[in-house]
Amino acid sequence: MRRLYDCVVVGGGPGGAWAAKHVAESGATVLLLEKDREVGIPVRCAEAVGAAGLKAVVEPRSRWISNSIKGVVLVSPDGQEVVVESAEEQGYMLDRKIFDYELVQMAAAKGVEVLTKAYVHNVVKPDGQVQGVRFTHLGDSHEISAKIVIGADGVESRVGRWGGLRTNIKMRDMESCLQMTLTNINVDPNYIHFYFGKRVAPGGYLWVFPKNSNTANVGLGVSGEFSQHKAARRFLQEFVQKKFPSAAVMYTVAGGVPCAVTLKKIVADGLMLVGDAAHQVNPMSGGGITTAMLAGKIAGRVAGEAICSGDLSEIKLSEYPKEWHKLQGKTHERFHKIKQAVYKLTDEDLNKTAASILKMAPEQRTIGGVFRAALLKHPSLLLDLVKVFVN
């Protein structure tokens, strides 16, 4: 380990790995710090990913994929099942343990140094500009200088706060999530299921994502607007007891998912934020793997250029948020407005919508068709959506 690196990346998830890899490709020296003892563990994720989104950032390897998804089933509060199948909406169930591990391996192959069990507890900021990090590793304290620090330290990102960026999130945009990996159950491995409704997951949804025909990730997110009345774990326990009474619980994991728009400011002099830390999660689905990797790729490239040119200023680094906004951030703003409109629907609205969609021929039931049907049924939602596209 050196005392000085061109770039230090905090966090070894997909966003951090991809940022580190792309910085290193410019020839810069890069240190990746991961607080856990092993990259990829614990898995804090429902592990489903869209095929197109994944292929846009990395060529998928078969050993990352535990299952291929052919369609989506949306379940209304009264139990109607709307099946949506479409060739271009296929996805995968990832094995995040292997996936995360190999992404970091791919970064290491570009020369990135990796340190696990490295707990970063502050940034070095001598004249108001971030110039390194302080961390502990196996009981020793270290201070490392870096031209650029990239915070890919997850939803709880403190690198951003220490660096002076405002990372606060509104409670209603934070999903309080809990997931159990259940086995000894019967599921169709071809479909992922989403359950909606105030009694299942208010301000969010419940998912059943199969790894195979007898094992699935079953979890839910409750909006922070509602979680004060009943915690995520109580909603999940009720659902699992009712729906999968014979299940054995192999793994339980909690999480907070920021379903918001991207933070206003994700760069400062010598500092960049990537992934959940920058609120780059798709606010409608809560999916953040490929969006973090896309952001990491852009941030890594811009950081590499900045290091080569010697210009580490916020202005130079702002090329990253500009490109992110163009490629994904703008879409997230639209999704966020749609999400807010959809969550205003009552359970009765959702039931009526499902009933009208089920009258459509199955081949018309694309995600777009489902939305159109929902709009015709709910003029007030239509108004909200018009605002989405006009604003």
Partner: protein, 69 residues
């Protein structure tokens, strides 16, 4: 003051994310509420597994208070 049932905690960081005054430290396997906590309850409300509770509401709790920020 907020009480912490550390045995329940999954170290997910949701509470750290919503804390408006950055008064929660999350170490590898331990949460600490720092002195400048303003008792706003956001961490209590967001916790998926009910690790956090207002101190008065919870009898058998381990209250971890750190004096350093």
């Amino acid at each position: 003051m907020i009480a912490v049932i550390n045995d329940r905690c999954d170290f997910c960081g949701a509470c750290v994310a919503v804390c408006p005054v950055d008064s929660i430290d999350l170490f590898e396997a331990r949460i600490a509420i720092l002195k400048h906590c303003i008792d706003c309850m956001l961490c209590v409300w967001i916790c998926p597994v009910e690790t956090l509770a207002p101190e008065s509401n919870e009898q058998e709790v381990e209250c971890v208070v750190s004096t350093t920020a």
